[in-house]
Symmetry: D2
Subunit: 157 residues, 4 copies
């Protein structure tokens, strides 16, 4: 029998290098995604992406990395499904498209482009210490709150 109830894909976006505080937060976001039986979607590289994947893996979760380059080995070691796209920054669009909701952890201009694309596409964005560009970003203060809000928004859609 086909199982049409797929796991919910939640994107985690953030910079390729991050502070210790942001790393801890990203790890916890990944943990809560896995604990809620969701799938982690991310850009597959280091920093926030790696910490979130490590957190998800720590709780037995599944992790997907949409890589900007050509090599499977560009993925951080906590990515289960490494997808090289060869599209460079256009892969940011894919991270957003492949997620039903996105959690932004801090982040620089790459993350901002993903937040903007998500809002343009009408996808929920939960912000943790990230860009404050308007009321459409749903603020959260803890990783747990961010994941709960993301899943809540997905259910409402």
């Amino acid at each position: 029998m086909a199982d049409i109830k797929r796991k919910v894909p939640i994107g985690v976006i953030g910079a390729g290098d991050c502070s210790d505080t942001e790393a801890k937060l990203a790890f916890e976001v990944g943990q809560h995604i896995a604990l809620n039986n969701a799938v982690l979607i991310c850009g597959g590289l280091g920093g926030v992406m790696e910490m979130a994947a490590q957190g998800a893996r720590a709780e037995g979760g599944l992790t997907v990395g949409l890589l900007p380059g050509f090599d499977f080995s560009d993925a951080n070691p906590y990515i289960d499904i490494a997808l090289p796209t060869g599209l460079s920054h256009a892969r940011n669009t894919l991270v957003v498209r492949a997620s039903m909701a996105l959690i932004a952890v801090a982040g620089s201009y790459g993350t901002l482009s993903e937040i903007a694309l998500a809002l343009k596409m009408g996808k929920p964005v939960i912000g943790l210490h990230t860009w404050d560009i308007g009321p459409e970003i749903i603020k959260a203060h803890t990783a747990r709150e961010a994941v709960e809000k993301a899943l809540h928004m997905v259910k409402k859609q």
Copy 2:
């Protein structure tokens, strides 16, 4: 601990509608991909893509669908990780990039574009009753042979 030994991603390409013989072949290709502990990469829609995913799922395998459109629900019911790309036919390039080797089951012009892109990128293409465009396509006569040849080519790389 990080597990850096990821499952090998094998792409299965073919048309969105197919004959009974091709459907059976695609199902068996999916089965052997799963039995060999590889991950099935495909375009996520019907026909060969659906049959291969159903076969992989039947043996407990993991299936990834890179969709041309915007909706998660475009994926056939045997896809575990549905990735809407919104890129239309440009997603063909992504199916090829995300695979370490590709198995073509019959197929029309869309499949031919993927075969050509794979050969251009230097990725092994195993052909099952598909386009005969040159000696670089490695021919196989059964699903099992196709998957074994695909995995053999990946190991050689």
Copy 3:
């Protein structure tokens, strides 16, 4: 003989609908791009994109529209080179890539994604009544000033 001195491509980004003030500003930006013998790159649709193309055309300039959809007829009537991409929002990345500098006129989330991508790629962004997301956006107060600053930044590169 080959003429390797191409015209400088300047991107104009902004929303598909805009106020009268923004429309006038976009028109003038297009005029000054043409008067400076540069090529206008834009998303090819209405609003700021159309007004800028109309302004450039009014001064005999050349206009390029990178369209999100599939149809040449999606382009506004002032686009000389209409390029349907079929990539939906991923075409935003192409508008940025195809420009040596970008001028943002007001704009919503789509424009913000382009500004962020441009800054991520290290391309100069001149802002006219647009998102105020940091000091890297070079502010201008008139269309003429914006185009002059854009061309100045390109020459410095």
Copy 4:
């Protein structure tokens, strides 16, 4: 006044290196595109792409190059509008999308992928000493015949 009658974009596809015979043919194709007041769309690099652009330029035509990489300077010197896409082989899809009909001059696997994508999208493909993959490719024996057939097919659409 807006001029809504744009020039017809005709794509020329072929390999980045080519024989003298193919080079001459590509040059002539470019010439006839310009003489018919159409715009040349191509991949912007060397070989067939460069010779076609040189031919079009020789007759005062306009040439557009959709580049796979990031640098404007990747374009051959006969390209008027150089559009770096940063999409690698996915730019093949864009060359096809941006053309109303395509003329294939010989070519290898990259060209084959473009032929297949064009046929998949229902765009006319005129073949000059190129892949013989089926009756949908309209054969031509001279550059002039190829361009005339391409323009004829566009008018019929």
